[in-house]
Symmetry: C2
């Protein structure tokens, strides 16, 4: 793994191994990856807290890792996992952190850019 491109971190995409839903994206450093492998539970490096953080360590909504995939240039991980506990991965209570369409923002961005508006599609 190449941890040098992003100051010791790589993005780690968590995908539900059963539904295929993309649940969240976190960052791992080398220690977070080690701990993920050793424990079998997705563990990230929290940039805001400056420490390792096992997803669900307080809520119990852990992510049990089934498969770990690496991309072609070895700077990104794909974590195929199953949800434990209540099964909601997002701190808002949603199952996935990606529960909102980028609707308002694109229209504003497109308007500012003077190009055609994004109408979904």
């Amino acid at each position: 793994m190449d941890f040098d491109k992003l100051d010791g971190l790589v993005p780690a995409v968590v995908q539900d191994d059963e539904s295929g839903e993309v649940l969240m994206v976190g960052f791992m450093n080398r220690d977070a990856l080690r701990q993920t492998i050793a424990s079998g539970y997705a563990t990230f490096f929290s940039r805001s807290r400056g420490r390792l953080w096992m997803k669900g360590e307080s809520s119990g909504n852990r992510l049990a890792v089934r498969r770990l995939l690496v991309d072609c240039d070895e700077d990104t991980l794909l974590v195929k996992a199953v949800r434990e506990g209540a099964g909601n991965v997002c701190h808002t209570g949603e199952r996935s952190c990606f529960f909102r369409e980028l609707v308002g923002a694109p229209v504003r961005l497109a308007a500012a850019g003077g190009r055609r508006k994004a109408d979904g599609g």
Copy 2:
């Protein structure tokens, strides 16, 4: 969108809107997001080339965006797209950039880690 956490960039996960397969992860800056919305094709900021890069601009293997989702804290994008051209997204010719299991590495990491030493690296 919060572009401040990562020096003007956000990770953008591309998921095949039909198969659910995670195809690649790139980075977008504000202009790449604008261009993605304006053109309807996934466009990234290439860190190595230091410029915007529409995926498939030379190969024709473009990613037509169907939906754009943003995560809970607005620092990551999920791009639901369909593959155009030959349909192979990875520059290696594979359909997805995530075509390899992290097999050797985890074993080595786990063995080397022993009791999960924190080496700050």
